[in-house]
């Protein structure tokens, strides 16, 4: 019996904590996002396409999930959802249009993480969502936003059992966030058995689930998500076959595991995430283009790539183009090469013939990758006379200083759920907001990005996208390093792993041979 249940159980080990059941809560961890994908349904979901040993999500194809079907009006201003007649909540009650409306209202109005995300899809007010008839709900937009539909497929807009949640709302918490924090009220394929925040979560399958692709039920009857802080321990758990999957192992471990026949490694360059070295232009001398260019020319890219992540990823350096970006994609190899002579020259031009003192920061939790990276950077910049003082900061300090724009030069990995070039530019290189690490303030770039956002014609859009990337390259607001691989290590019997935009394991996709 034990063996039987074991075969039908999926056991994931991760370094971080599952800390809430509702992804909209401030402070939710990425693991909680992944969890919410399996406990809650959304109206729509991204399709996925094969990729190497596994799959990767397909940003351009969206399928109905809790909705039976959807249609977008020609002018792109209304999206209409037809509901499934047979859809049920986990408590067995049927899914109604009221529930859907309430859930959508909740995402955009509740004080949570959802609202700011929906904003990027031009969904801001409850009155954009209307019930046409008991089986139909409509979303109205005030401008044709390409990202509206994709946004509905992201983590936040979960469909919740309004009748259930409403029993637990309070005056100062009209949307019941406090209750959904550790109670789940969804219609997803899995129901929460036990939830020990920061320790483990155990799910069992919801057999009345209808929203699956072609109505298929997920394979695993039981799912265990466990927090195992020590990477080495996670590795040995997999090697002994006690755990089935882990997606956050140390690059060094993964390297060794590739030789291990008892394991399978599905590695996907995170094409919506990238590690960079940001130059904060609010801190002198990084307001000086030449300085930025000098440093980008002085970085030992190859060594960093090899030493920090053991070459597991897609380089974003060493691009061969000079005039214009060859591809409309935001993340593509930039024309950066290690060339100390040039670097020295640029530094002299910039007015720092004998270099300057500066700091280089990264967060403690990323130390395993960034310790070697920092060492190499310090060594290499030293050669052109830049004296680097390395700061390894506790994560909270790091994020605070980043937000306050106090750090001079630092490294981090950014991730974007939406993968259109203008979205990248708007969210990561413009505006006085946290994710604009380089504090880049370039009006031309900004306006171009805005126009691109609402350009429907793909050809025109690609043209603009190329131009955007070219401008970014010219500005060198940061040194693009690489797209680190998402290395999912699984036991050979496990199949169907998908790399999702949220970079977490989606239990629905997987099965055991």
């Amino acid at each position: 019996a034990h063996a039987q249940t074991r075969a039908e159980t999926l056991r994931q080990v991760t370094g971080n904590a599952f800390n809430t059941l509702d992804p909209n809560l401030p402070g939710s961890t990425r693991e909680s996002f992944g969890l919410a994908m399996s406990t809650y349904d959304r109206l729509v979901s991204f399709e996925r396409k094969p990729n190497g040993k596994g799959f990767i999500f397909d940003f351009d194809h969206i399928r109905p999930e809790l909705a039976q079907s959807y249609s977008v009006s020609p002018d792109g201003l209304t999206i209409t959802f037809k509901l499934r007649p047979d859809a049920k909540w986990h408590d067995g009650t049927p899914v109604t249009a009221e529930d859907i409306k309430w859930s959508l209202d909740r995402v955009v109005t509740a004080k949570g993480l959802g609202a700011p995300q929906m904003l990027t899809g031009s969904m801001t007010k409850a009155d954009q969502f209307t019930i046409i008839d008991p089986m139909t709900v409509q979303v109205k937009l005030d401008r044709p936003d390409k990202l509206a539909l994709p946004n509905l497929a992201t983590v936040y807009p979960i469909m919740v059992n309004s009748k259930l949640v409403k029993q637990h709302v309070t005056a100062d918490d009209p949307w019941g966030l406090q209750w959904t924090k550790d109670h789940e009220a969804g219609s997803g394929p899995y129901i929460v058995d036990t939830f020990k925040p920061g320790e483990q979560v155990i799910l069992h399958r919801f057999d009345d689930w209808k929203s699956g692709k072609d109505g298929k039920l997920p394979f695993f009857k039981r799912v265990i998500g466990q927090t195992v802080p020590e990477a080495a321990t996670r590795a040995s758990l997999l090697q002994r076959g006690d755990a089935d999957i882990s997606i956050d192992l140390a690059a060094s471990d993964v390297l060794a595991m590739e030789k291990d026949p008892k394991l399978k490694i599905i590695s996907t360059p995170q094409f919506n995430a990238w590690q960079m070295i940001a130059f904060n232009q609010r801190v002198k001398p990084y307001d000086n283009l030449k300085v930025r260019q000098a440093i980008t020319a002085a970085l030992p890219y190859e060594d960093m790539f090899k030493a920090a992540i053991f070459g597991r990823g897609a380089p974003l350096f060493g691009g061969t183009w000079t005039t214009g970006a060859p591809s409309p994609l935001f993340l593509q190899p930039m024309p950066e090469h290690t060339d100390l002579a040039k670097a020295k020259a640029l530094l002299t031009e910039a007015g720092f013939p004998d270099g300057f003192d500066t700091t280089f920061s990264y967060s403690v939790s990323t130390a395993q990758i960034n310790d070697p990276l920092a060492a190499l950077l310090k060594e290499s910049l030293g050669k052109i006379g830049i004296r680097v003082d390395i700061q390894k900061l506790p994560d909270a300090q790091m994020s605070t200083l980043v937000t306050e724009k106090k750090l001079a030069m630092f490294t981090d990995t950014s991730i974007s759920w939406m993968t259109t070039t203008d979205y990248f530019v708007r969210n990561f290189l413009t505006g006085d907001q946290r994710w604009n690490y380089p504090s880049l303030d370039d009006k031309a770039l900004e306006t171009l990005a805005q126009t691109a956002r609402f350009t429907a014609d793909p050809a025109k859009y690609d043209e603009m996208a190329r131009q955007l990337v070219t401008m970014v390259a010219a500005e060198t607001p940061e040194a693009f390093l690489w797209q680190p691989s998402q290395d999912a290590v699984v036991v050979p019997s496990i199949e169907g792993y998908t790399y999702w935009f949220h970079r977490q394991v989606d239990y629905r996709d997987m099965y055991r041979k």
């Binding site: 904590a17 004080k111 920061g198 020590e230």
Partner: protein, 342 residues
């Protein structure tokens, strides 16, 4: 009778006199946390689309927009009402978290202490019975070796040897095999609960999980315990009343156990108390390595995230445990040693 009373009085005084210390701990931690350069509001609103207003709102929600004295006042009031605030890392109330996790730490620490004493006392006695003989040196050397290895290294090595290579130890994830169903929570000590529930499978599972981490910690505290046992034993064996006992013709085992060991136990008891309370707070690394759901690891994560409430709660808890344990030791000491009360 009167003795018990006087001991109780001593204990009472100790408790009262330690209240200022506790208050000091609370305030000190509170300020220390506020000194940390990290801003939890910013850190926890790090969703992929966190904006300024979200941070502000979170800051308000966490009450960080008030002045520090005001915050302290509120915090003290909350403590008085038995609430330790709210943890952002786990999204739970700190009291709830601690209540769930303290038993885990306690069980582990107790196991480690028992293991350590079980080894240290015989070794110490052996060493004391033949001072400067090879066995004495051997004991000293062995114990010292234990102290030399950082707990996280010995932990990882033990895992590597007994789990990864030999495969005899269970996977080092938490307190009980995930596939075994935990016993109904009663004391919170899984081993005890499972026995109460008469669930032998759960008991063994829990016990097996306990062994490696307990061993790791025990190794580290072996030295002080054995050292103290030896010293105390030597002192006692050299004392006049042992000579009297021998002169009266008492049998050797009786002398060693009923006379020598009982007297030597007193200082060992004191050290054991200290070791216990320090271990409880200091096994951060062990808990991390064995993914043990204890309070120390909990506090560590919170600390790195500048999550105030959990750290403050944890420190307060530890301090209280410290006080209680010392109290316990005092009382036991008083019961064992007539000289104390009078």
């Amino acid at each position: 009778m009167t003795k018990l009373a006087s001991i109780a009085r001593l204990a009472g005084q100790r408790l009262l006199s330690s209240l200022p210390a506790l208050l000091g701990v609370v305030i000190f931690t509170f300020v220390l946390m506020r000194v940390l350069p990290g801003d939890p509001a910013v850190f926890f609103s790090s969703g992929p689309s966190a904006g300024k207003q979200e941070i502000e709102q979170l800051r308000h929600q966490m009450g960080l927009d008030r002045s520090i004295p005001v915050q302290l006042a509120f915090y003290l009031r909350d403590i008085a009402t038995g609430s330790l605030g709210h943890s952002m890392t786990t999204g739970q109330d700190v009291t709830k978290d601690l209540r769930e996790r303290l038993p885990a730490s306690l069980e582990l620490t107790f196991a480690a202490l028992i293991l350590a004493l079980g080894l240290a006392i015989p070794m110490g006695v052996l060493a004391a019975l033949n001072p400067n003989a090879w066995i004495d040196h051997a004991v000293r050397f062995f114990c010292t070796l234990g102290v030399c290895v950082p707990t996280f290294v010995s932990g990882l090595l033990l895992i590597y040897a007994f789990y990864y290579l030999a495969g005899i130890a269970p996977d080092p994830t938490g307190r009980i095999d995930v596939f075994a169903s935990p016993p109904p929570a009663f004391t919170g000590f899984l081993t005890i609960d499972s026995l109460l529930a008469g669930d032998s499978e759960a008991f063994w599972s829990a016990l097996r999980q306990l062994i490696l981490p307990a061993a790791t910690m025990a190794l580290f505290v072996l030295a002080p315990l054995a050292r103290m046992t030896r010293a105390a034993m030597l002192a006692v064996l050299g004392s006049d009343y042992i000579r009297t006992a021998r002169a009266m013709g008492l049998s050797r085992p009786r002398i060693i156990i009923a006379y020598a060991l009982r007297n030597a136990a007193l200082p060992v008891l004191t050290i054991a108390g200290i070791v216990f309370s320090t271990m409880l707070g200091a096994n951060v690394l062990v808990e991390k390595v064995f993914s043990w759901p204890g309070v120390a690891a909990y506090a560590l994560d919170a600390l790195l995230a500048s999550d105030y409430a959990p750290v403050q709660g944890f420190v307060l808890l530890m301090a209280s445990v410290f006080v209680v344990v010392n109290l316990l030791v005092d009382v036991l000491y008083g019961l064992a040693d007539p000289r104390v009360a009078s």
